[in-house]
Subunit: 405 residues, 4 copies
């Protein structure tokens, strides 16, 4: 047992932090200001602030690119565990991961294509995604049913000659509002009569296909998360070639499962980075503002809250790193307890830490003057995305009880 | 001891609920839709949806008007305790209290004028406020200092001949964005050398006075709360006649204290009404949506969460009613423990209930499709407004320890 | 609505507190010391300390006797609500209620006999119980099944000529170890084939009946609660006359239900009195002990814990009083939500307050030097007795959902 | 980074678990039964059940002896991190560590002698302690002051010719009741005028020295923890040779600090083993008992509680292992945040898990029929021993704030 990061991780981490300090931090306020013009619900007006393209070019040139992908040719050859601390560093702000072409849902979509895509699919979509030239979306959740139970899914994939005909309504399609979003992975019922985990398929759908209609963007606690956003989209008699099937009918669940393990590590490590950011803001503010003759951090139980935050963050990080190690060592299937556990722990921890940081900030905390409400919305959404807390607790309990059979 | 409401309260409550059912509920969606046009940060474009004026006229005609004011001539002659259940009923939605001319900060401002205003001040400002023709704002909190310690206040009131000269920057000036907002109560240092509770004064400032400059509206978790909003406003060499002093220099603290007791009852009872609304939404959604073959309310610990919410709401209500009774019976000064206690309990309870209701709603919960994020923002802001939780816990502890001296 | 106690309650409360101050407090340490000789598991050696008989005689002479019984002839004619504050005052210490002949399970057993006993049963058992000459036990819970589901009960009542034959094993039979315990109420299956709420009967069993065999006393977190204790007892072919049936076969559930409403009010109010005691100990110790140059109550978040305790106690009290009022006003059946709610709230609140008080005491807190571990054991047992928290939460949720049908 | 245990640890763990399964588990009930004869407060009657000496001989013969000691000659040569999982395995029951000569306070005392003892001290006391022939006690905490602030200590060490004269009252002297306890380490003021961390000394005191008077044993939530116990002891003009000083005057604090790091790892890992035991009991009981037609584990939120317990245990374990690694890698001084963090986390986690396990057991849970109340008492005491939670939270906060200076 050894808690020291590998030399490779340490070196990447150092370069990444240096990059963030040198290139990103000085322009962060400028980026936020420019992106604030995107704040409204009218996603058709959203633009990627100009800094992003520059940062991406710099990151690519610096070799800080596609770090999430374990593949040595296209990625950095880092294991899930080795990448985790880099994801944490990228999670400090909500826009940072994109700089390194490491942001969801593109990362998961690239992994799907990398592992399960045909050569033609890879050439057409994976290559520009890896280059950061386009962005993508994953269309799974539906507004009309409880998506915590994936068997509720209603969207359909029907074969018609050489074509697939797709119908359904999806929402929380994250990234669909981005001006560069060109490709969707659509999940739907392909074999309604099959057993529950062999009923669904996944299909690649270019965003400009007729019948794909984005109806609106959804806010999360009032935040639209421009310029990528979360969309509600209708697929109305959408026709694509059969060659757009990923693996073929009935393979949707298996693909989705493979996609989730490392993806959850990334999400949780970014949440941990966000929590470190919130704690830092809380401490700086609490040391600076004075009430009743003392820095407010010295009042009442505030220092205990700092301690609780530090302890909660460190515990969440260790559990996530442990889950990453287990995925690498024995595969995501054998790490289901840990993956579900961090899915509960990290977002709840982030929500609690941010809530506390807000409280220390007073009125400024709930305003847009400090980036806390955005981190709060992130935490709140993560408690629902990819399965709500309750589903993951049920999974952990099921695994635990299985030991007694 | 008797937990039954007075006949007068029961009768008003019945009429109020009938009014809400008959006049408001059928047009609630329409009102929200129309107000959504106000959603952005540009407060100069905010308009009061047309329904409001109609509702107000109907409410006034129905004798459901100024119910908050104990005064028998101008108000309904209800005690704090008798009014409390009506405040709860009005709190179900964020816009309902205004229909009955019972919304903050106008209620508190009207009380200040009623108790402490000169005849001229009453004629000029209280009369149109009681008529619901204009709205008002209370400018106390400042962005540059920790406002939890009121002695930090920096704004100044200087006498210059027959005039008062006001300078300072205020924020979280709730209501200042409303198109009908015509009058501000400004609080500032009038006697910097006096002992800490005799340093401040309150002055009436018409919003169109030169030097009053609204700089922006603040969002709360992304919600601007149009059409009233929360503003940041600069008073830059603002000059008003000395006659605009309320009571005179050094009286600010005493006036503020008197304003807070019943006001906190109103806030907390509205929070309880909001929590009942959230619980109702949670149950309806949880019974309707199905996952894993059952209504999701039947899964895992969800029913226990319903029980916890019911218990927490009932406890918060009883404590608030008790505080109201104590204010009526022995005055706000003798009820400081209870007033601070409910200020901690009610918003935290609301936040917890709404958070749970959001969770049961899945993705819809964090969106604008259901009114939960608005109630969440309300709860979150209430944990800071009029003193953060920590200040009120400290007050309860101080009162408790005083018993041992 | 009026939160002032009735004149009768105020007067009784004043007399009760004067009695406790004058007669009990000065001899409390002496009583505890003498009772400590009872501390072991060998209940056959338990003796009631001599102070108790003297106190009881004094209390009876002072008219502070059977206050729990609403009956005007045998009791004090107090409603549930009027008695509640007296129960709180008696709950400060674990032995105080007995002084006034108001301790469980005698109170519940007397109520059963008062409401449902035959004249002969009353003459034989109720009269000496009301006189405080004997004590009693209620034998319901069984070790071999989950008693949270009352339909699990296995003990049997069989008719054989003029006799009833009782068989079964019971535990947590509180009071059975008391030297004065002379009568048990035994609950068992009388009509196994009937619908689930008409299967059980209750039978009076003198403790000296052949076949009644006390096997041992149970400790609660190491506390045997001498001199009354909690026993495990076997009924092995126990024969009593049919006249010992209370109401007759199949009536057990209905009797048990009637017994529980006011009984839970008493339990919860005593828990609240215990919590007040714990908070007082916590504050006194926290003001007296010094660390790092300050009274430890001034360190870290300790004052916030005082505030949280005060708020939690006051909320629990108000909810319990409300439940009492509702029982009086509309009957226990219409107050099921409130009765279950306080059954969850009061013991959990007590456990939390005592745990905190222990923490402030340091090592002394977990020792027998201060009466906190006894109060903790009381709280812990109350979270299980008469239905665990989980069953009561389920009941509150069921009532809540019923509003939506 | 690697979460796999070293080969050495894996091998020891396997042998340890095999030993426990083969030799200990079959006789556990017998040991407990025999030790129950020790249950009372009269420690002079306490005897070590005969199984212990046999188990110790077997463990020593099996090479499972003094595993805690990193020293390769006298111990097993395991690092803190390598030993940690063995401590967890030993923590399942409260008596298991002693079998392997790995129980507190002997482990800490042996470390003190190993690192700081003179050759003569080692020969006289360390040798028989390493052989498991005698036991020891550490006398630090005092009843009259808040021991959370070590500078409060009042006991004195005075030089008088060739002798040291010791005076003071100590309590929570764990192990002092054991029939084999022969040696105490006494801590007291040796240089009252020195700066606060150079005022104290540590002295070896044979238990049979005149003037050492054990006054009583203290119960923890009613548990006396025979046969070792927790004593209150008076040192009244106790005279020992100067050669009994460990290192000499003023060195007490430095020695105490060195003693605490690994000791807290041991305590916390044992607490984690205890929590695993409690969770196992909870699940077995919850699967076995049926209510309302289902195993009670399937009711309400009980499965979520299983999940929460699993997650909390795993997080506590990882944090403790991380702290162990940090102690090994950079020393206890650089691991103060982590050492204080686990001191908060592990006992609170254990208390919460045991409390939940008790609840699932119903009445049996609070009785002595299952070993849960003993584990609860352990957790409760650990939240106070070696510094209460509050002191450790303050330490974590201090370290955190130091990053911002």
């Amino acid at each position: 047992m050894d808690f020291a990061h590998s030399a490779k991780t340490r070196e990447y981490l150092q370069r990444l932090q240096a990059f963030l300090a040198e290139h990103v931090a000085p322009r962060e306020a400028e980026y936020r200001r420019q992106n604030a013009a995107n704040a409204g619900a009218d996603w058709t007006q959203w633009r990627e602030p100009g800094q992003m393209a520059e940062w991406k070019a710099q990151a690519r040139a610096a070799g800080l690119w596609n770090l999430f992908l374990p593949d040595v040719e296209h990625g950095a050859g880092l294991s899930t565990l080795e990448y985790a601390p880099l994801a944490e560093a990228m999670g400090r702000n909500e826009f940072t991961a994109e700089i390194f072409n490491c942001s969801a849902p593109d990362t998961g979509n690239m992994e799907v294509l990398h592992h399960f895509g045909s050569e033609a699919q890879k050439a057409r979509w994976l290559t520009p995604l890896l280059a950061g030239d386009i962005r993508s979306v994953f269309c799974m959740t539906e507004p009309e049913v409880a998506s915590s139970d994936a068997t509720n899914m209603r969207a359909t994939i029907r074969e018609d000659g050489d074509e697939l005909v797709l119908d359904g309504r999806k929402w929380w399609s994250t990234g669909i509002g981005h001006p560069h979003c060109e490709i969707a992975i659509f999940m739907g019922l392909s074999d309604p009569g099959a057993e529950s985990h062999a009923r669904h398929g996944m299909v690649l759908v270019p965003m400009d296909t007729p019948g794909v209609r984005i109806e609106r963007m959804l806010a999360v606690h009032g935040e639209y998360d421009a310029p990528h956003g979360h969309g509600e989209v209708v697929f109305d008699n959408v026709r694509v070639p059969k060659a757009n099937y990923i693996l073929g009918p009935g393979k949707g669940f298996a693909i989705a499962q493979g996609r989730l393990g490392p993806g959850r590590i990334h999400h949780c490590m970014r949440a941990i980075g966000a929590a470190e950011h919130a704690l830092e803001l809380m401490i700086r503010r609490g040391l600076e503002r004075v009430a009743f003759g003392k820095p407010i951090l010295q009042l009442g139980g505030n220092l205990e809250r700092v301690a609780d935050a530090r302890i909660a963050i460190d515990q969440a990080r260790l559990l996530t790193l442990y889950a990453a190690w287990k995925i690498d060592a024995v595969g995501a299937k054998q790490a289901m307890t840990e993956i579900s556990a961090i899915k509960v722990v990290a977002p709840n921890m982030l929500q609690a830490v941010v809530d506390q940081a807000i409280q220390i900030h007073g009125g400024a905390g709930v305003s847009d003057d400090v980036p806390l409400v955005g981190l709060f919305a992130l935490a709140r959404a993560l408690r629902l995305a990819d399965g709500p807390d309750e589903v993951h607790r049920a999974m952990v309990a099921r695994m635990e009880l299985a030991k007694y059979k």
